[in-house]
Symmetry: C2
Subunit: 256 residues, 2 copies
Amino acid sequence: MPSPGKLYIVGIGPGGSEQLTARAREVLEGSDYIIGNDSYITQLAPILAGRTIIRSSMGKEIERAKKSIELARENRVSMVSGGDPGVYGMAGIVLEILDREGADIAWEVVPGVTAAQAAASLLGSPLSGDFVTLSLSDLLTPLEIIEKRLRGAFSMGTPVVLYNPRSRGRPHHFALAMELAGKYRKPDTPIGIVRNAYRDGEEIIVTTLSGIEDVIDKVDMHTTVIVGGEESRIWRNGTDVEGIITPRGYHRKYLY
Amino acid sequence: MPSPGKLYIVGIGPGGSEQLTARAREVLEGSDYIIGNDSYITQLAPILAGRTIIRSSMGKEIERAKKSIELARENRVSMVSGGDPGVYGMAGIVLEILDREGADIAWEVVPGVTAAQAAASLLGSPLSGDFVTLSLSDLLTPLEIIEKRLRGAFSMGTPVVLYNPRSRGRPHHFALAMELAGKYRKPDTPIGIVRNAYRDGEEIIVTTLSGIEDVIDKVDMHTTVIVGGEESRIWRNGTDVEGIITPRGYHRKYLY
């Protein structure tokens, strides 16, 4: 007989409850247990009243995944993941462990707005069509693979979104990414840096590949960086708003 | 003086109101005009009561964008876009025309859950980390650029999400993509095909690169296709659920 519980892996999007989907909210409100990283739980505190909360911390993903599976045998459990659980989130590790344990527990991955999309929306339309999403953290991916992927990504000519772009411990990964970008892109290629999208302390910076050194201190683990593609350009709407547009290709087909 | 109106470009996610963010719903409910493709408007009918609706059809994107800008000079206007407006959606063309016209109109791009994320969530966790998003339609992108991007994408070793994978008019693009995938991936590489994610007629098919021919008729413009990366594998939870997992890399660092 299958377990009476259910395991939800819930994407909460970039910020507080404003960027939550209706389905995510419904699932959170109907759960017996909510498990998640401390900062996500704090953001959602107003809508989690009455649930049993288990706070965890960064770097404890495996422990957290096992705990969620154990509880989901008998209860409705929501594992909270920032952004989308399927993109640098908790879905992978939770389902991997569920599979290894052969646990017959019903599951649902609830998608959410990713950091890439949140950053893009604040810049205007820097992605528009084809793009690549890459993390510069070598915590789980060896540096030589990151380098290979960066080369493949920049060779495509599309925009590239960089997650975990730069930490104090490894500032050289971001320097490497910019160096490789320079082999495939012009110096005036726009770069958007978005910090704390849809959260307190939100900051949006638009620069170019040749200007990145001047704002390098702004690039850290709280930022998402979008490197423009071959056709991306900086865009000024009104006087003080600066953004990035990557034309989709309508200009190749239509007059407007 | 800036215009009194405001232009919202609103991502409604993959399905009906369940996958809508709170912000998207709030914006739609506060708009004077809603403009969008017929099928999206129909999906959202229950929450659009009282708004003035302007239905448009596929292929009329430029006309629709101009209309939204004209109305937004004096009104709150929501341009509705399926999935996320910044990913194969309306944000690019609307902001491009706004820029060309030099119109001083306030704008906001409201992000939403993309087709890639929706498909991924139903398959388990086929993306997990780095990935590429590519459209196989040559309506706005020349075929030689699509081919170059496919080669770059598969060379990275990451999962690749294919939008607009196959239409009656150009079945050879998908055949080309599978042929190129075969140069970089093993025959048992998992492929997920998701049709009508979170909508009526939802269907999920899991196969492999070597098995794709048997289900080729299932691949059309209503599907999103995820080609697994080098580490992706097919996953069976319980007896009848088949999905795809791409390990994030925890196994390289931890025992579990």
